[in-house]
Subunit: 302 residues, 4 copies
Amino acid sequence: MSLTEEQRAEIAAHGQEVSSTLRPTVPALEAMLYQPLEVLDHGFLRVIDYMGDDGAIVQAARVSYGRGTRKVTEDAALIRYLMRHRHSSPFEMCEIKFHVKLPIFVARQWIRHRMASVNEYSARYSILDNEFYLPAPEHMAAQSEVNRQGRGETLAPQAAAEVLDILRGDALRTFGDYERLLDEKEGYGLARELARINLTLNTYTQWYWKTDLHNLMHFLALRIDPHAQYEIRVYAEEMLKVLHAWVPQTAAAFEEYRRGAVTFSATMMSVLRRMLAGEVVEQAASGLSRREWDEMQASLKG
Amino acid sequence: MSLTEEQRAEIAAHGQEVSSTLRPTVPALEAMLYQPLEVLDHGFLRVIDYMGDDGAIVQAARVSYGRGTRKVTEDAALIRYLMRHRHSSPFEMCEIKFHVKLPIFVARQWIRHRMASVNEYSARYSILDNEFYLPAPEHMAAQSEVNRQGRGETLAPQAAAEVLDILRGDALRTFGDYERLLDEKEGYGLARELARINLTLNTYTQWYWKTDLHNLMHFLALRIDPHAQYEIRVYAEEMLKVLHAWVPQTAAAFEEYRRGAVTFSATMMSVLRRMLAGEVVEQAASGLSRREWDEMQASLKG
Amino acid sequence: MSLTEEQRAEIAAHGQEVSSTLRPTVPALEAMLYQPLEVLDHGFLRVIDYMGDDGAIVQAARVSYGRGTRKVTEDAALIRYLMRHRHSSPFEMCEIKFHVKLPIFVARQWIRHRMASVNEYSARYSILDNEFYLPAPEHMAAQSEVNRQGRGETLAPQAAAEVLDILRGDALRTFGDYERLLDEKEGYGLARELARINLTLNTYTQWYWKTDLHNLMHFLALRIDPHAQYEIRVYAEEMLKVLHAWVPQTAAAFEEYRRGAVTFSATMMSVLRRMLAGEVVEQAASGLSRREWDEMQASLKG
Amino acid sequence: MSLTEEQRAEIAAHGQEVSSTLRPTVPALEAMLYQPLEVLDHGFLRVIDYMGDDGAIVQAARVSYGRGTRKVTEDAALIRYLMRHRHSSPFEMCEIKFHVKLPIFVARQWIRHRMASVNEYSARYSILDNEFYLPAPEHMAAQSEVNRQGRGETLAPQAAAEVLDILRGDALRTFGDYERLLDEKEGYGLARELARINLTLNTYTQWYWKTDLHNLMHFLALRIDPHAQYEIRVYAEEMLKVLHAWVPQTAAAFEEYRRGAVTFSATMMSVLRRMLAGEVVEQAASGLSRREWDEMQASLKG
């Protein structure tokens, strides 16, 4: 992560203005507020603001007048019930806002989640920094042979080093040219909105991103998944830590009913019933394709 | 407004749990937090939570690291610029949550605003209170003759009293029957989800409603309008007061560029140019329909 | 269902204007177009327009230039894959529009699905017909004792008849008063937007409702569920027939991977693994609550 | 535009499957169906499907049973009324789907419109073509000095040629390296999802993009604007032609009430009233900033 002195000072100053509030407040999340969580080589994730807590979900579900006087265990049970039965609207009652620094190709995946608000740093208006993502050698992997959109074996050290040289070389060259295109004295004074088209997709951008708790969990469910690209998954993993700090009961229910849950199709259910009745079912007689059969067996092994 | 003692106590207790926070905090809105603002005969509006302030809009627009060190006048100028040019995304960075008690027919108009989250009190699950909206005599108006969806003259006192009797009588009778349908001992023990279908549309319901600042202003622009039905407009008017307390710079820009602004069509613009050139334009030669002509003249008079 | 002669004639005329088109066309759905499918005592559902077919989903998923030359079995396999892995965006590429006549209390549940477009008949602008929903005796049920938002036993015939009298009596009276409030000569000439507040929630309204295939299936998954209120479930059941006529491969995948699928929580999965390993697991030692245990056992029995 | 023979054949075949339909059909749009409209150097826009026409808007606004028997002039008047008063829901009842080939930096602006469905060609799954956007000399402009996010003077021919060389050189090199990274035999067999991060932002991508008529007009209003970047504006201009072919009455109303309309702020309105009263108002005494004053004068000149 590469913050300038000035940026660190701004963040530090911001994190010292304490106010009194009657709003629900979460000390564990206050402790994380504004602090950058490092992701990838130059990226970060910072919680900028939040609204609501576990209690706010319960309060909305009950449409109650006060904070509620129920016991903690009752609240947790209600949250589990809501999560289990996919009653999503009470979870929409909490909101969180992040400042994220991320490579453009990650931003392009991320933005596909439409139920969020975004303010991105504008390269039409401003000049980008010379920062681009370069994979660490251990994440430099060959195309998967079984999964058309996945990674397979890690590259041999020598190959990884050569790939790194290519990526770094191209990023440096295109960025250098970007600066030359922009430069009004030594270069061409080209409009920013045009010069930026020369940058590579691993260039870092940043944005403010805000969503509600329901949509945050939907994002997490999709992006923590092992099939998600590594470079977005690491952001999701940091956000999952934020989730546990912010709304611990909801996070526990999320682990139980969403992340750790398994869905079986109608045919899988009939296979399962046969297995539980003692039958030894084989794929050929299961009604499942080879791929679905394998997925089912993997789920049952855990 | 009819809050029970218990409800008042819950609200009072809720309003005394002070916490420390590093989040942006707005004292003028904190002072209103949880307190019911009375609307109509039994309705209310309460601010339950909020996220962000005027500064948060500026911060998001600039994608800045800290709170920003610019002057207040610069911030106000940026907010005015954003509002004027309909850059809506920075306003989406603030969020507010209300608890609202409102007649069902108002709820049906309100819910048409989809960019919001809602948790409504469930009449499948719970039993509604015997509360229904009855218009005050001065709002008891005849069908407008010029506007098919508006009100005209106020009814004469005698007629208004008779209408009130009819509305009250029907609401009392249907509610009494609702109770009889539900009653397991003296009545029929009918399922709640069925019994409620007997209630009239002026019965009060309540919900938690949460939206972002951009969509709140869109709601206000439509519902403060004199063409909005009186019974929803009074809620919008209370919300406008909340807007001014919460984000005074944004509220000022809203008054200047949205609420007080006038849009002229292409043809109106050509009429306007002729007028400014000294020509005396008449409707017949204006290219405008009679209705549009009248609207334009009304706007110019102010 | 109560259509006037004039309405029937309008529908019939509409259904005879044949055009040539290059767009994907589904004969089975064309055969249903404009025809009212009866629902409840006076309600209906009509398909007014549609866009796309099974092939359009495949085409979008492949971002292809033409209609695609793949075999039908390959297309079906891709659709199954997309459904199984919750790749929802290709399903958003199909769209359908309905004209629905439905009781207001059903409309209030329905509108909670925000990812749709709605144009409702306006009772501010027009006068409603004297039509209201009355449950058939076999759907007149007592409050459930196990499910706070459900129905239990059917009422005894005598009680059902009495309940019906109450509901009918109140609806007739409030509608009669509605007419009297509106009547400019014999009544009060009250504004329509006010008079309507006297109507009961079982009064019929109607709307045009349009959504995409992904959101249609989401609606169906929630509203076909046995826990949905009967009066909205019957609409969902008619829509499911439309789904099968329109996109048969997608509908088959929906039955397999959504409607017939079962999701087990993390704890349920560990119980399942123990059971498959031959252990006799009891609820007390399962880590599941009684309710979750029962739900799991019910799923395993099918 | 660079379509392969195979792609042209697929498009041609697609455009010959004529069906009969009872749905509203627009001959002028049928004539454009599937045909690529060229945009920029390698981009295009193709209408893939549509739903509804001008009549469908009127039908939804009236919630009518048939196609409606009103006169064309009445329909046009209603459409004008709906547009003028921002009654947007009837316009949501029409839908259109495009296949678009566009540079990635344009795609990044475009995707900010969230009220649409998108299926993009996946560079995780497939390999991109060697196609990138290079501005024509007449669009190669210097940074604007008055508008921080705009273009100023066109570059001198020699400078434009040099800039072109830089952009072309970098795009060719990074694409060559992309191929080398991917190549399993002569290169590194790097995973596609990683190799693509080396591409520049002017690389072409493509997607299926679907939205409703209301949101299409919102997109057009923002992207046809002279302040929009040239490279997205040219797509909007082609879409505007599609709009006129598809829904001519709506398109005419759009030109009159949206594109050709001008909005004056509260302060501008007071200035206007003074001017119409014969006063010679100067900026200093207007209450307007210099920039707003200039904007107002420009609007009045037309």
